[in-house]
């Protein structure tokens, strides 16, 4: 996450009461959100308004109500300036036809305003970076799905944007290719100081790249925050594994007022309010059990996501 000299995180974008409807469908419903710089994951089920939000940020669509800023620029009036500072890789397969890979990326740079020579030089650099150096002179129509995704990534970063928006960047990729793209995204966000808005259905992908998430549902903000903070530590819930006889141990804990859930060889134990983890040690000593593993329970990102969806 990037910070200003004052120590406060820089705002990447901000939406205030944004509403967008398509006929009877409300894609964004009075959405207000302020997001700091860094690698941001955009989560939400299908039809939750993720793509509409991205298009709103790029100033590609007019909104019915609301206002906002992207990189400090008003998205209602300075769309072209925003698009100049932002790189965008759309979800769908889209290509500039009948060109070689290097021409494709150079053309993308020229459209942003780079000089032809600069764009070509830069195209070679970013193609090397995304691992398409060997295929740069092949026609883009002959690229595999994974190569096309990487090509889109290359064309989105050719002008070195401040914010990179990736819409489902690992769609249709094999595990190796997916890991490579995630590695590139991580590198850009963590080592190169590029802010990232990473929209995906794949929670492990988001978790691998991002440190902040926004969860949308029915065009509304359901949750937002730092992933580590959202994956909160549950002070009264513990994961416990004992050497043997976990069933007997569970019965003993139940008798003491704990709520037990067995998951494989681990017991998820919720101790009564006012009690400390010491009661687990006491109970083990009384039952002559050996505790081999004990840690406070943390929510997974999936749980955070599902919990947010349940709240809507």
């Amino acid at each position: 996450m990037a910070y200003e000299s004052s120590g406060e995180p820089r705002t990447l974008f901000q939406l205030d009461g944004v509403t967008k409807t398509y006929g009877a469908v409300t894609a964004l419903d009075d959405l207000s959100v302020t997001v700091p710089s860094g690698a941001i994951g955009l989560l939400g089920p299908n039809g939750s308004g993720k793509t509409t939000m991205i298009r709103t940020l790029l100033g590609l669509i007019p909104v019915d109500a609301g206002s906002g800023q992207v990189l400090g620029m008003d998205f209602l009036h300075r769309q072209l300036n925003i698009r100049r500072e932002v790189g965008f890789a759309p979800e769908n397969e889209c290509l500039f036809p009948a060109v070689e890979g290097v021409q494709f990326v150079a053309y993308a740079g020229e459209l942003v305003g780079m000089r032809s020579k600069d764009a070509m030089q830069r195209a070679h650099e970013v193609l090397d970076y995304v691992g398409l150096g060997e295929a740069r002179y092949r026609k883009v129509e002959s690229y595999s799905t994974g190569m096309k995704q990487r090509l889109k990534l290359a064309s989105a970063i050719v002008h070195d944007p401040k914010l990179l928006i990736l819409d489902e960047p690992t769609n249709g990729m094999d595990p190796d290719g997916r890991e490579e793209v995630l590695q590139l995204c991580r590198d850009l966000a963590r080592n190169k100081g590029m802010s990232l808005l990473f929209s995906s259905h794949l929670l492990p992908d988001v978790e691998a790249v991002c440190d902040y998430i926004i969860v949308l549902g029915n065009g509304k903000l359901l949750a937002q925050g730092n992933i580590q903070q959202l994956k909160q530590v549950h002070n009264q819930c513990f994961e416990v594994r004992v050497k043997a006889g976990s069933e007997t141990f569970a019965q003993g804990l139940s008798a003491l007022g704990c709520v037990i859930e067995a998951r494989d060889d681990v017991l998820l134990v919720q101790i009564p309010k006012g009690e400390s983890p010491r009661m687990l040690w006491r109970a083990a000593a009384e039952q002559n059990q050996q505790i081999r593993y004990l840690r406070s329970q943390r929510s997974t990102l999936e749980e955070v996501f599902l919990k947010a969806l349940e709240q809507k």
Binding site: C94, P97, L111, D128, I157, D160
Partner: protein, 383 residues
Amino acid sequence: MPIFDQGYQHWSGHLSGRAWRWLAVTRQGIRGGLKNRFLRYVLFAAWVPALALVLMLCMWGLLERRSSLASTFMQYYMALLQPGVVADPQHYRADIWRLSYGYFLEIELRFSMVLILLVGPNLISQDLRFNALPLYFSRPLRRIDYFLGKLGVILAFLGMVVIVPSIVAYVLGLLFSLDITIIRDTFGILLASVAYGLILTFSAGMLILALSALSRSSRYVALCWVGIWLVSGIVATVLQAVDSQQRRYVYYNKMTVARPNGRDFDNLSRAERDKQWRAYRQARERAAEEYRVAELGFSAHDWRPLVSYTENLSRLGQQLLGTDQTWKRLSLLDPDQDARDQLLATYMGPQYPWYWSAGVLTGLFGLSACVLNLSVKSLDRLK
């Protein structure tokens, strides 16, 4: 893997302003177009008439200066032009330039149609087929920039065969004449030919872009273009021919003297037969003359050429260059009225008001703009 992997490097170069962003689209279109071998051949062939124009203007310049070189070509001029014109080349300079440009533009119009057939169909339909529009519109590019960029491709190719040769021929003609008054006499012709090139580009360019935006298949677009270019021309020609035949039939039926034949005619004396034949021939000649005059009059309000797209463009070119006035001036050199009428009927184009054609072309332009506006949508309406 590269030998030395430098990873991601930041870039801090200069980004150009928005005003010329369409030029990137045009450059890409030109690069793509020039990959087509047939297009290169057609471009090469289209410069042959330009070469002929240059030769004609340069030779006329030499003729004006009474250059010894000109005497070599004099015999050809004498064969092609009336002696009065060759005798005073300076006086007829503007007329000859006008006609030369007129023929040049008429031929280049055909080449332009072929060039557009080779370049135009892919311009937008290919972007639709490969879903490239999100790539354009997610960058700092407006729809107008996109359209201007695509239109720029047509402008570039038609400019290469119409506008640039017109200017080059003018400059060379000027240099070979070495007479400053030539600018006064012919500058309007240069402006007219450049204006015609621009009208041709914007009209045909918008039309092919609109067609290209209607389909993801370039082949269908090419077929539609052929239809507009050739089929409309054929329909207009057929309509004109049918109408002309009907009028001819009516005029020839007006002949008061019937064709002399039959048993009664055979029984007449030789002198009487000759008399009837003479009357018949005179009536035919009268009818033919009346027909020619009537045809000239009729062409002033014949709407049928409007059906042809290229005919409309030709009519505007003819009006801009003023070739009809030139033919009228040149026809005055012939003392024989019949020959004058014959010359005008043969060489002058359609005489209907030029603004009819301007109206048709403006209508097509507006229709094309509407189609483009509806077919190439912003991302708001894209999937």
